[in-house]
């Protein structure tokens, strides 16, 4: 199965964004993605209600190395902490916590086994499940992956926890040796069938890479932590936009 490649429209949007980049605040990297990438019909009702009532909000971010933030100097620069900052800025007056439950090198089945302790026990309003990388790397069975995702979403919905799935990271180099396609398709279909929101991290990072907004390939060793810091921050802000988009 193939996905549509970036459209000419996306390229035009990128050009426009690059044009406006000069006018933006200095410290934030300009890393918008085309709005159509974030568009979805899936909603986050429980989160929406708590935000509306200005009740304290708890979000659990669960997943692998890129959730844990292995590549940045401290967890404060990992994407969950940056998401907390972005959401706090967007919804001032609402206490928002984003808990980081990332652990490296676990497949979806292993992460699902942690759900009762790491997700349900925290009684969050929203769970953000970053997954699929280990499955693609190890070429694990697509059908079992789909079943695991279904089970995870069912478990969350049974507890009335809103859910967002986050797909894989992108770089030319990794995409050249790993076949992500079947796993990207599976996540898209599972999200579709369960009315869950799928945050297209892979497509967003590919857009950045294709349009020269980030270069993931040739970065010198010394600059890698600062690149990761910027990328996680950008992804967190995109995710905050996506969450705002998904509130009814």
């Amino acid at each position: 199965m193939a996905r549509p490649s970036p459209s000419p429209l996306a390229g035009a949007v990128a050009l426009g964004l690059l044009f406006f980049a000069g006018a933006a605040t200095a410290e934030e990297t300009q890393c918008q993605a085309p709005p159509e990438l974030l568009a979805s019909e899936a909603k986050l009702p429980r989160l929406a209600q708590h935000l509306k009532e200005r009740k304290p909000v708890t979000i659990v971010a669960i997943g692998g190395s890129s959730t844990a933030g292995n590549a940045v100097p401290s967890p404060a620069q990992a994407y969950p902490a940056r998401l907390e900052a972005a959401l706090t800025k967007r919804y001032p007056g609402v206490p928002i916590r984003v808990l980081n439950k990332g652990a490296p090198h676990e497949d979806a089945q292993q992460v699902l086994a942690r759900f009762p302790r790491d997700v349900v026990a925290e009684n969050p309003d929203l769970a953000i499940w970053e997954t699929g990388t280990i499955e693609a790397v190890r070429r694990m069975d697509v059908e079992s992956f789909a079943t695991t995702l279904d089970e995870g979403l069912a478990l969350l919905y049974a507890q009335h926890i809103d859910a967002i799935l986050v797909n894989m990271q992108y770089s030319h180099k990794t995409a050249a040796v790993i076949d992500f396609d079947p796993y990207l398709d599976t996540m898209r279909r599972v999200a579709d069938l369960n009315d869950a929101y799928l945050f297209p991290r892979f497509e967003i990072m590919k857009f950045w890479s294709d349009n020269g907004i980030f270069d993931f390939e040739t970065v010198p060793k010394a600059d890698r932590p600062s690149l990761a810091t910027k990328v996680y921050d950008c992804l967190a802000r995109q995710l905050a936009d996506a969450i705002a988009e998904a509130l009814p």
Binding site: M168, A176, T186
Partner: protein, 407 residues
């Protein structure tokens, strides 16, 4: 590769019967589809079988391989005995094994180079793709034992196991068709009921293509192929099976196309997605077999062996690829890996995709033509010259309606 006349696809002149070009044509087509489908994110894959049917080129390839294997080695067995046929089969198994190890070397070179030069901690989960490099002494042994099957290197091991066990299928086929098909079906059902699978490396992995399930399709192909050798009809000549087959193919077409289009636009509903998806490919889900058999019956019915298009110019390159299927198949796997690399490393725009697809198919055709020429050269310079000059198909077979083609 040996250049003698040891191929499964023995030429018509040796057997005294017309060669069914449909087998070559559709196997060649399957090879093109396998190449196209194996390039991730390839727009052209919207136009292959997998977009409009539950089965895909893998089923076509395995079924036709079983069919031709039974035809060629079945004849050998009937004329020269089982031991002789088994020896021929094992020569073929050895070729496949060597080809697989060659592809493994290329894959290992690509992954180890990427992992060691890229090595960005942001991708620490992704870089586990090179985990096997941490214990090469085990990984290489597991590769030699066919237990380590990296991306796309999983069909050849299946084919190797299917051929290695093929002498048994042939012996049973000689008794009668059911003696071969019933145990095969039983094994398939057992694989599904009890979750039987072959273990693979790393630990807890299994073969992507489960031979215990896929052997059924190979045996079905073999049953039809062997029936043709012995001139025993397999299918009733009634019209209603064709109506059923047509209905199955049409329904699958509508459903699968709706999934494909749904992937492009949410506004198009994916019919029965919740009920049918996911469809297990590793264990050859029944819906895949049913769709493939319906498709095969329908195509065999609608496309007679003496069809004119099989002898026209455009079909010739496809037929050539189908005739040299082992080499072209290995090449196609290699080319998909390279194409993936090119598309992800430079550009994946439509122009580049078109270039990569065209170049890949041209190389497959060129290689098939070259191998055919070498073979002819081995048989005699005059024939080679003739083959080069005309590149024309053989004369139409006198009587070519097989068990699938009877109407």
């Amino acid at each position: 590769m040996p250049q003698h006349d040891v191929q499964a696809e023995a030429p018509a002149s040796k057997t005294g019967r017309g060669r069914d070009l449909r087998l070559d044509f559709f196997r060649g087509l399957a090879l093109f589809f396998i190449f196209i489908d194996h390039i991730p994110d390839n727009t052209l894959s919207y136009f292959t079988l997998t977009s409009v049917g539950f089965s895909d080129a893998a089923e076509v390839f395995i079924f036709i391989s079983g069919y031709t294997a039974a035809m060629v080695y079945g004849r050998t067995m009937l004329r020269q005995g089982t031991l002789f046929a088994a020896a021929q089969i094992y020569r073929r198994v050895w070729q496949l094994y060597v080809a697989h190890i060659f592809l493994f070397m290329i894959f290992t070179a690509e992954v180890s180079y990427t992992v060691w030069t890229f090595n960005n901690p942001m991708y620490s989960d992704e870089l586990r793709v090179g985990d096997f490099l941490a214990q090469p002494h085990i990984a290489i042994i597991k590769a030699l034992l066919l237990q380590f099957q990296p991306t796309f290197l999983d069909i050849l091991p299946l084919y190797i196991v299917l051929l290695a066990t093929f002498p048994i299928v042939l012996l049973l086929l000689r008794q009668n068709l059911l003696a071969a098909l019933l145990p095969s079906l039983a094994l398939y059902v057992a694989a599904h009921l009890f979750g039987l699978a072959l273990s693979a490396y790393p630990q807890d992995h299994v073969w992507y293509f489960n031979p215990l399930a896929w052997q059924l399709l190979f045996a079905l192909g073999a049953a039809f192929g062997f029936a043709r050798v012995t001139d025993r009809p397999v299918l009733p000549a009634a019209a209603w099976p064709m109506a059923v087959a047509a209905a199955i193919v049409l329904a699958s077409f509508v459903v699968k196309l709706s999934w494909t289009l749904h992937g492009l636009s949410d506004s198009i509903p994916a019919l029965f997605l919740k009920q049918i998806w996911p469809i297990n490919k590793s264990n050859l889900a029944p819906v895949r077999i049913v769709h493939f058999l319906a498709l095969a019956a329908l195509v065999a019915y609608l496309v007679p062996a003496e069809s004119k298009f099989l002898r026209q110019g455009f079909a010739r390159p496809i037929i050539l690829c189908g005739q040299q299927s082992l080499q072209v198949f290995c090449l196609s796997i290699l080319l998909s890996v390279l194409s993936h690399f090119v598309l992800s490393e430079w550009s994946d725009g439509l122009a580049m995709q078109a270039a990569v697809n065209i170049a890949g198919m041209a190389l497959m055709i060129g290689t098939a033509a070259l191998i055919t020429w070498y073979r002819e050269m081995d048989r005699g310079p005059a024939r080679a010259a003739a083959a080069m000059a005309s590149a024309k198909p053989e004369p139409p077979p006198a009587q070519a309606a097989g068990p699938l083609g009877s109407r």
